[in-house]
């Protein structure tokens, strides 16, 4: 193998890797849509105390999660390290969701001053994850 063949092989490998990473960017859209849905779910629960809020939030969450799951399952490729990063994001989201929801439903029902920042905080893991994916 000649020097120029080696250089061409490396360039080819870089090009293929770049195409795979580009095709894996569907996950950015997934995370942004997930974050938007999570934001509204928290707001709806918080600003409508009681069963109305719970039912209305499920009316947003269930179709959103179904659509996102179908979208994810149809993708032909995931980037290296996908599972680790996804678990980290979903784990962070779960912790923040519970940290906002429990005090909120106990002491701050209907209080916009709690629920609006809370909804933003819950949306953060997905948005940060999307930003990091784009930057990689």
């Amino acid at each position: 193998m000649m020097k120029r063949d080696a250089a061409a092989a490396l360039a080819h490998a870089d090009g293929l890797g770049a195409k795979v990473r580009q095709r894996s960017l569907w996950y950015v859209r997934f995370l942004v849509l997930y974050s938007v849905a999570a934001f509204f779910v928290v707001l709806v629960i918080g600003l409508n105390p009681g069963p109305v809020g719970a039912i209305a939030s499920m009316a947003i969450w269930a179709p959103a999660l179904t659509a996102l799951s179908v979208y994810a399952f149809k993708q032909p490729v995931t980037r290296a390290g996908f599972t680790r990063r996804h678990l980290l994001i979903i784990g962070s989201w779960t912790a923040l969701y519970l940290a906002v929801l429990f005090p909120g439903t106990t002491w701050f029902g209907g209080n916009l001053a709690w629920w609006l920042p809370g909804a933003l905080v819950v949306a953060l893991p997905g948005l940060i994850g999307a930003y990091v994916e784009v930057r990689r």
Partner: protein
Amino acid sequence: MSHPRHQLDEVIHSPVRFAIVAALAAAEKAEFRYIRDLVEIETSALSKQVTILEAAGYVKATKGYVGKRPRTWLSITGEGRAAFATHCAALRKMVEGV
């Protein structure tokens, strides 16, 4: 035996297998059809090359379904990733004239 070409991996050295492994190295998993189209080879040719890469322990093929459609997913193993890294390091040495 100090020339970097001696460090090239014989399995990955084939241009088609090199392309398959290069694509899979950037992915956690990829659909068989996606890799086929990306590498621009026929289905039967990819099957043959994947069989060789599987036998070497470099690639794993997993069958599953998306809805009712059968799909085959390809992923690179830890051994395959290490072999690809060593192969690329040898190529870089050749380029640098080490």
